[in-house]
Symmetry: C2
């Protein structure tokens, strides 16, 4: 059936057709249709909505996203037909029924997810099935390989290409802002793509955005990495492993993260970015994604095995993630904390030690530091100022201000110091409440929002000392954050009553 | 945050807000927001879309469905806030993790599905979890009870109220058009709600629509049933068990039908319609939803047990469903076939025998026929013409033409007789190909589309005899249907080569 396109200004992808045309086509509300431009012959698959009003039979209102995909303008002609049932649906039901997916089935699913052939009501059960029934290592490998094929791939002539990843969930884990310039300062390539916060207070992409633009195409990432040695960019705009960006939408609402899918997603991104060597930081502890060291070792083994199957050298660093990393949480606060260490060439503190430990593993794996001396070599690059200069190079090549200083990154104008209710020492700082407070304060959308830990675990406090300070860019968000702080009590003092039970 | 509503003509429910407002609210594309009318105080929960164009900060474009729910007009003020995380999400993850849902958890899920609090990306995993992990009888009972509470309930002073259900999947199973008037002719109430085709060639609601309107409110169904003794209406418009209509959307794309959910859905609808007595037709056989008698007996046991827990008397009729029921498939063809039996008071043929068997069980359960004599009593009502008169009463009370004759229901103008390729007798007629051909021919949207079986299983045929005739309202659909007929060969003749393998 041929229809005349009316293009909507709004950035959605659906097609809206008249009820009479829906009957002729045999499609129902929400089903998928294939659209083909008469002129450009480009195809797009999207969901159809049906209306008796707002348009006539013979017309189709197209969301801007689909119109751009078809490369057509208002008034052009498009052919429309019902989507044929894709083979990937059978594969999804097989996985729901407890079957094991082969490479071909996995390929059909990933391809149909990426191209828009599958609807949300078809993709979501696949994510649920991966979560409930799990993926074995073969299925995980197939998924990783197909995810790599789903988008752009980088390829560098200079070797080795290094990458780094931190398993998420721990607030304040800004170590990429220290690890990437350190590795690049050692004359290794590190094309670091990272994510924005999903449930956290700020992903590395959010933090880096305080220093420079982070949205680039794959070609730009490759070029910038070749020039500056490293980049810290948002993976979402690169079209590297785009299938993952789609799958995440179905994990986010229920905060589920199917293990096999998580492994495939991490390693596919590294492989597609051209990496040969990868070091993975696995924070473990209460309130971290990985509860304890035993679980951390299992995860590490799986990441290493998958890396091997994808022809990458992988090592993992089990780190402590039972409380926030460093003293700051939130976009400007974290970016400033990292930049300050580089500026001051400050080798003290747990944040720089952890960063050097992770960077050091990469330096050893790449053969630029002897086994056992990687962390020292990394520290040398930070204390000698090379890492700072490299970070400014990276900021500059990404279009940021190469003269930026940590003092240029202000905390929010509204703040509140939370005081110790009694004498003692800090026995715990809980990750989830810290994240919830920072998010309520406005993180990561409001760059000034966040938390500064005036005291860390183990430090002695006097009644009335500031335990931590909440910052916000808007007063009402500060109030909201304070309310959560009162409800959750993220910092516990020795001897403090946790709760009185009558 | 207060926004000014701009109401869209289009029947969607989403709210579209400006990107700046989304940042202030802390909501992302596709998340849920709570809207409250400043004037009417009515609330609605829906998904939010974010735009940088097409509207200004301070404005919200509302789909017509949500505007009607809020009872507001263009230019009115609405307050908007991010949805708080509902407790039902924890319950859904519990079910995904293999846990057992209690009554309270089930209630929270069903309530949040019905009210729009849960998004598609949250409802779909619940359906997947029910499919993969199953529901035990307690969970099934809770689900049924909460589904009943999700909508309107009928209540009749005259007792007993009877109901009938056929487990779907077998084409041509139009027995409700015979069973309902027969039971009503025995002076029993039967408020029969039924569904439209989901994957079939025509649901009972589609068939009845050839004879009379089928969309009524619950109050109208109650009133019509009290007056005429019976109705045959579409359940979708009654707001009886609306939660089921929502869940079905997530089953349809993958053609999954979680057992516990299916049991709950069948029995909840009967209970909510006020039934005391229910007879359930379970067609079994190759190509039917229930593959064999053993599986049929298990399903029957589950339906009876669930009925007992909901205080209903349930009996099941295992019937043969390995080929189409009667000779006709498609809206007008099936309605005419049933009406013709009533008009001609024709007691021969398997269709009327099956209908009397099912109606007879109900008559016995209701105490208006002695044990063992129900089918004869039902046949007496058909052969005596009482069932026909009652059917005309039902058609009339639903607003149809009480003088309608089976000859008023034309088959499609385009037809093609499929001939026997050789001599023999019919050994099988396969359900799924028959459905696929009827759907391709236009069923159920095109009322004249369908198939007439000139020969049934067991009948002798000569080469060149018409095996079955395909009807369509549009020529191109007839061609499409013929292509599927050629590919699938739904009718097999003894001695016929199934396939030649080189």
């Amino acid at each position: 059936m041929l229809l005349t396109a009316k293009i909507s200004d709004i950035a959605f992808s659906s097609a809206l057709i008249h009820a009479d045309d829906a009957v002729s086509l045999g499609v129902k509300e929400g089903e998928r249709v294939v659209l083909t431009s008469t002129r450009t012959k480009t195809q797009a698959v999207t969901d159809v909505h049906i209306s008796g009003k707002a348009l006539s039979s013979g017309e189709v209102i197209l969301g801007r996203i689909t119109a751009e995909k078809l490369q057509i303008s208002d008034g052009e002609s498009v052919s429309i037909s019902a989507r044929e049932k894709p083979a990937s649906l059978r594969a999804i039901v097989k996985k729901m029924d407890g079957g094991k997916l082969n490479r071909e089935e996995t390929a059909s699913i990933v391809k149909d997810i990426t191209s828009g052939v599958l609807s949300p009501e078809e993709i979501s059960p696949f994510v649920s099935a991966m979560y409930i029934n799990g993926l074995d290592m073969d299925e995980t490998e197939y998924l990783a390989r197909e995810m790599i094929e789903s988008g752009e791939k980088l390829s560098f002539s200079k070797k080795p290409v290094v990458d780094k990843h931190s398993v998420g969930g721990v607030p304040g884990n800004k170590i990429s802002l220290l690890v990437v310039p350190t590795i690049a300062a050692a004359d290794l390539l590190i094309p670091k793509t990272c994510s924005r916060a999903i449930t956290g207070a700020g992903g590395t992409a959010d933090l880096m955005e305080a220093l420079a633009p982070v949205a680039f195409s794959a070609a730009e990432v490759q070029e910038m990495t070749e020039k500056a040695g490293g980049v810290i960019v948002w993976g979402g705009s690169t079209n590297i492993v785009p299938a993952d960006d789609i799958l995440i939408r179905y994990e986010y609402p229920l905060k589920i993260n199917p293990r096999g899918k998580m492994l495939a997603s991490i390693m596919a991104k590294k492989k597609a970015a051209g990496s040969d060597i990868c070091v993975i930081d696995i924070p473990t502890g209460p309130g971290a994604k990985v509860a304890d060291e035993t679980e951390g070792r299992i995860l590490a083994g799986q990441l290493i095995e998958l890396g091997k199957r994808l022809d990458m050298k992988v090592e993992c660093a089990l780190t402590y993630g039972g409380f926030p990393i460093g003293r700051d949480v939130g976009v400007n606060l974290e970016a400033a904390e990292a930049l300050r260490i580089l500026e001051e060439r400050d080798g003290s503190g747990s944040l720089v030690l952890k960063s050097c430990a992770v960077a050091g593993i990469a330096l050893e794996m790449a053969g630029v530091a002897a086994r056992g001396s990687g962390a020292d070599a990394a520290m040398h690059l930070i204390q000698g100022g090379k890492a700072h200069q490299k970070m400014l190079d990276i900021i500059e090549i990404q279009g940021g201000d190469a003269k930026i200083k940590s003092s240029d990154l202000p905390a929010g104008a509204f703040s509140y110091p939370v005081e110790a209710p009694e004498d003692g020492y800090v026995i715990s700082i809980s990750n989830r409440p810290i994240i919830d407070i920072a998010r309520a304060a406005g993180s990561p959308a409001d760059h000034g929002a966040g938390i500064h830990m005036d005291k860390k675990v183990g430090e002695p406090v006097k009644k009335g000392d500031t335990l931590y300070t909440i910052y916000a860019d808007r007063e009402w968000k500060l109030s909201k954050a304070l309310k959560i702080a009162e409800e959750t009590v993220p910092v516990r003092i020795s001897g403090m009553l946790i709760s009185r039970v009558a």
